[in-house]
């Protein structure tokens, strides 16, 4: 029975009771508790069910390495699944629910899986769920999805706020134990800018639990003194509840600060993601204890020895009245001694080593604790909690020598330095035979931009398990980090002297007892969260998996949300033994950030809602919004798709806009059109290289449509170029292409033709551009009041522009048309856009002017057979495919894409070419991207596809559907009828026609 002790508990405040609920049950804890310690204080040993076999599971650890105790925390917009109880600080009103069980935690139907464990071996999924294919969809997947997964995803929108912080420091120190504090002190004294982060709410780490002395005083006194010193240094910042999450290239690091998880009612952000650049990073991240592998090591009540000690001394909680300690090292004796001193019973210390004669074992014996050397736990007896263990010889197969009654087991398989942050960016490890652990190899650190190592492991994380050498190492690391960041050490900075009880050598034990029979091995857990047993790893080895990376994926060892913090080394030990290889020869798996799961909220930061991707708005946005705009995203812009009037559906609005523009006059906000000025003595020469046609011979005041291709010959942007002066051009681009085209121009100017005298400027947002389009367009402009421009067809013919004043606004009307109608696209200063728009509406009222949106624009351009970049092009289309030969110069020696278009494949007459498509039934509109098929099916049973629809609409002007498509050898297929199967029993037939459906001669636009 786990319970609260009458004394001990340095982290809790017994005067401040806190209420919380677990599965709806009201429970009490104290301020300073973690959810784990509070649950244990209430004898809630069982906290969850395992992933695969739904076995009852309890708390194993006291820190972020906890594999079992995951719960759903909070409610509604603050619900979060899979939260570790060991890293959750208790607060008043906390609500937690256990997960992965049905119908209840105490009684779980899925637990029958455990009877089936013989039939769920490693690679079970790979072996079983292969055939038939159809069974996947209807049988396997629903069952697996139903049974799989840990917690449930939240259903409400996250109620909290998150943010980023940016920090640039000389030295980042991760870990606030005595090593991290010492490193910070050493680095801080040099004047270097230091940031020290600690993942928990408290400083000092394990030293305060393990009775370490510093400078001949209890460690706590030194910690308090050091914190005071660090706080007084202006160059040092220290943060608790901030975890070093990841180390990346060139000294980039992420830290994860939890500001209000422990106090959810606080205002301000909940989490903060620190994006840090550090010249040097010191990892003082300590070590994590390994479990031992014996049968039943997953039964609630079996816990890491260090965690048992933490709960007793930090929180005043005993895990059991009678605790058996099982170990292969001296460190676990600290637990036995602590428990005995707290008045609890330790029936036996079971030590796998043949002798235990060090300082700590002798101390334990003096306290009257029975020490059994050369022994093992044969198995744990119990199901939802520990009832007893059997004592066996470590050398044997597990025959019971004696049954020892107990309600808790404290296990220690030794300690593994936390090398994650060292390894994230490529730091290498060495196997330390003496201490049976991987530790950072100082000769192979992760390298920074100058080629030197930028991560320094310190203290226990560097493999110094005892306090004295850890302290010396960490202080030196802090000093060195600062020096390498350019801050030389001050005089007289000697390292503090730490002292702890001496410990004898560990003896690696990967299986207990070493010859355990299959029955025992099949109940011996390596990875608690993913339910991987010793027998699974052995089976993987037997089936030929030699690489640790493959074994990991086959068995799922270490792939759970704890990323194998407890299981990886033990699994490696088993695998190495099975393969008869040395551990370093088998190697480790890759360590990847984050060290411990961080919230999606922190990763997203402020980038949500309106800030996720800011919307670009034209100067007329507000008017559109107030006048029925049905919005459409166009690249980063929002454009009106159409303007709905009362009682109108979208389709009706579009039809009205088209007919009104064709019959009267329409008004279009074309401000999103890209506008780039290209200026300089070589501007014409430059544009001749960029466009497929000639631009250098364009007359001043004239416009020309141009195409841009990449070096592969593929068309990627189009638009009208206007020659403003002898040495300057204005290039219009597609709405989405302005930035891309501008960058394209700069790339060629800077990296290829850098001696050409050309300057470019993207002036897209400097202008509002408004199209006045339709047979009555000229009348509208005249009614607006024109000064200095003759709008007549003779003086301002098609494909020219002029400058002057319209409605009292300085304006530049271009006679260009994307609709086939008489059209003036008028550019005015962005700030004058709204005034011009209002004036056009006012003057146009008597002519029936109406604004139109992008859909009307699309339909009208399709009626005219004009291409749209992104519809008729997809990055594999050359202008010749689109029948645009007329826009490709034959005179120019070179242009971007010319050589590529000469390739034999590009000359193939069977390439897909643009055609018009007229459906047999004029009311039927082909679906977008419908495939045209021809002839017999191919060998694989698929239809023989000869092309697809690129643009398709109903044309209200013509009274029938229109479409364009890219069809194999299309230009030679005029009059052919093609088949478009659009559903199982439905084929649409359409005739290949000229893609220009309306006014092929271009009379309407040229008046």
């Amino acid at each position: 029975m786990s319970t609260r002790l009458a004394d001990h508990g340095r982290l809790i405040d017994r005067t401040k009771a806190v209420e919380f609920t677990f599965n709806g049950k009201r429970l009490k804890g104290f301020q300073g508790d973690t959810l784990a310690s509070a649950l244990l204080a209430n004898d809630q040993l069982l906290v969850g069910r395992s992933f695969k076999y739904h076995r009852p599971r309890g708390i194993v650890a006291a820190g972020p390495e906890e594999p079992n105790a995951l719960v759903g925390l909070g409610l509604g917009g603050r619900f979060e699944p899979n939260q570790r109880v060991t890293t959750t600080e208790l607060f008043d009103g906390l609500s937690a629910r256990s997960q992965n069980h049905w119908p209840s935690l105490e009684f779980d139907i899925g637990a029958v899986n455990k009877m089936m464990s013989r039939f769920f071996p490693a690679g079970f999924y790979y072996k079983t769920f292969m055939f038939p294919r159809a069974a996947w969809k209807h049988l396997f997947e629903p069952v697996i999805r139903g049974a799989a997964g840990l917690g449930k995803a939240p259903s409400a929108r996250d109620a909290d706020r998150y943010e980023y912080f940016y920090a640039h420091v000389d030295v980042l120190i991760v870990g606030g134990g005595i090593a991290g504090l010492a490193a910070a002190l050493a680095a801080g004294k040099t004047g270097a800018k230091v940031l020290l982060v600690e993942q928990t709410a408290d400083w000092g780490g394990r030293a305060l639990v393990d009775g370490v002395e510093i400078d001949v005083k209890p460690a706590a006194e030194w910690v308090a003194k050091t914190l005071k010193a660090l706080n007084s240094m202006e160059n040092v910042s220290i943060r608790t509840r901030t975890m070093g999450a990841g180390v990346y290239d060139h000294g980039y690091a992420l830290a994860y600060e939890r500001l209000s998880d422990h106090a959810p009612e606080t205002t301000g952000p909940r989490h903060r993601l620190w994006r840090i650049r550090a010249a040097r990073i010191v990892t003082a991240t300590g070590a994590i204890e390994r479990p031992l592998s014996f049968a039943g090591n997953d039964i609630p009540g079996v816990m890491l020895a260090g965690a048992v000690r933490d709960y007793a001394l930090n929180y005043g909680v005993s895990v059991g009245d009678r605790t058996v300690v099982v170990t292969n090292n001296d460190d676990a004796y600290l637990t036995a001694i602590a428990l005995a001193r707290a008045g609890l019973n330790v029936p036996a210390i079971i030590d796998a080593r043949s002798k235990a004669t060090g300082e700590l074992p002798e101390k334990a014996r003096k306290l009257g604790i029975r020490v059994e050397t050369g022994k093992a736990i044969g198995k744990v007896i119990g199901s939802k909690r520990v009832q007893a263990v059997t004592l066996a010889a470590q050398a044997g197969e597990g025959a019971t020598l004696e049954e020892i009654k107990c309600d808790a087991v404290a296990m220690s398989g030794g300690w593994s330095p936390v090398v994650h942050l060292w390894s994230h960016c490529g730091g290498k490890l060495n196997w330390d035979e003496d201490q049976a652990m991987f530790r950072p190899d100082p000769a192979r650190p992760p390298l920074g931009k100058d080629g030197s190592g930028f991560v320094i492991a310190a203290g226990t994380a560097n493999g110094h398990l005892a306090a004295a050498p850890a302290m010396m190492d960490a202080y030196a690391a802090g000093k060195r980090a600062a020096a390498e960041a350019g801050h030389k050490a001050a005089e007289g900075g000697a390292a503090p002297v730490a002292k702890s009880e001496s410990q004898d050598r560990i003896e690696p034990v990967w299986l207990m007892p070493q010859g355990a029979a299959y029955k025992l091995r099949a109940k011996t857990w390596l990875d608690f969260q993913n339910d991987v047993k010793v027998s699974d790893v052995q089976l993987a080895a037997l089936e030929g998996y030699e690489s640790v990376e493959h074994t990991k994926r086959y068995t799922t060892l270490g792939m759970a949300s704890d990323q194998g913090k407890l299981s990886n080394i033990n699994g490696l030990g088993i695998l190495a033994h099975s393969l008869n290889a040395e551990i370093p020869a088998v190697g480790t798996t890759t360590f990847r950030p984050p060290y411990h799961p961080i919230s999606f909220g922190a990763i997203a930061g402020e980038a949500r809602g309106g800030l996720f991707k800011p919307v670009r708005q034209t100067p007329l946005h507000d008017w559109h919004q107030k006048n029925g705009a049905h919005w459409e995203p166009v690249a980063d812009w929002r454009r009106p798709y159409c303007y709905q009037r009362d009682g109108e559906i979208v389709k009706q609005a579009v039809t009205r806009e088209i007919l009104n523009t064709r019959q009267n006059v329409g008004l279009l906000d074309a401000s999103t059109l890209g506008k780039i000025i290209v200026k300089g003595p070589d501007a014409g020469r430059f544009l001749d290289m960029l466009y497929t046609n000639m631009m250098s011979n364009l007359g001043i005041g004239k416009c020309r449509y141009g195409l841009m291709c990449n070096e592969n010959g593929f068309l990627f942007d189009d638009g009208v170029v206007a020659r403003l002066t002898d040495d300057s051009f204005l290039c219009h681009t597609t709405s989405g292409g302005a930035d891309r085209v501008h960058a394209w121009m700069e790339e060629w100017l800077q990296t290829e033709w850098w001696d050409w005298k050309v300057y470019t400027a993207n002036v897209t947002e400097q202008y509002a551009q408004i199209g006045i389009v339709g047979p009555k367009a000229r009348q509208v402009l005249e009614a607006m009041g024109v000064k200095g421009i003759d709008l007549s067809a003779e003086k301002l013919p098609f494909m020219t522009f002029a400058e002057g004043s319209i409605a009292g606004i300085q304006a530049r009307p271009y006679r260009i048309s994307f609709s086939g109608e008489l059209s003036f696209e008028v550019a005015v200063a962005a700030s004058e856009g709204r005034a011009f728009w209002d004036a056009a509406l006012e003057a146009g009222r008597e002519f029936g002017i109406q604004p139109y949106g992008t859909e009307a624009l699309h339909v009208m351009r399709a009626e005219k057979g004009f291409i749209m970049i992104g519809d008729e092009t997809d990055g594999t289309v050359i202008p010749q495919d689109l029948g645009l030969h007329w826009a490709i110069s034959r005179k120019k020696a070179d242009f971007l894409g010319k050589r590529a278009q000469l390739r034999s494949y590009m000359q193939d007459p069977d390439r897909k070419q643009l055609v018009g498509l007229k459906t047999e039934d004029p009311e039927v509109v082909l679906p977008d991207a419908a495939h045209a098929v021809e002839g017999p099916k191919r060998e694989n049973g698929m239809e023989n596809i000869i092309g697809h629809v690129t643009s398709t609409y109903y044309s209200p002007t013509l009274g029938h559907s229109i479409a364009m498509g890219l069809i194999k050898g299309g230009s030679r297929r005029m009059g052919e009828v093609l088949e478009f199967p659009v559903a199982k029993d439905r084929v649409i037939r359409a005739t290949v026609v000229d893609p220009v459906f309306l006014d092929k001669e271009g009379i309407r636009q040229d008046v």
Binding site: G251, K449, Q750, W754, R899
Partner: protein
Amino acid sequence: MLILTCPYCGIDADETDLAPGGEAHVTRHGADASDDDFEAYLFHKRNPRGVHFERWRHVYGCGKWFHAARDTMTLEVFGTYPAQTLVPPKTLQTKIKKKRPDWKGFKK
């Protein structure tokens, strides 16, 4: 996340401020190129393990293109220099040779 020093504005720029542009010092082959030359220009890009010359643009900074010489394996940056050159600066080549004696030298 790399840091590269922009040779124009002198800023130590984070990778998020930069846009990569592939191999540097590629010779453009235009309209009259042979099939082999054009194929090599378009498709045969070097991607060595070790010393490499790359194009980068300080896109969220001064907007300039520049070249970086770095080790693709260790991520060590030997230097950056303006893009308006056909070959890496001599001093930089000497520096790389000193740091990587096995390096075969710059080849077009």
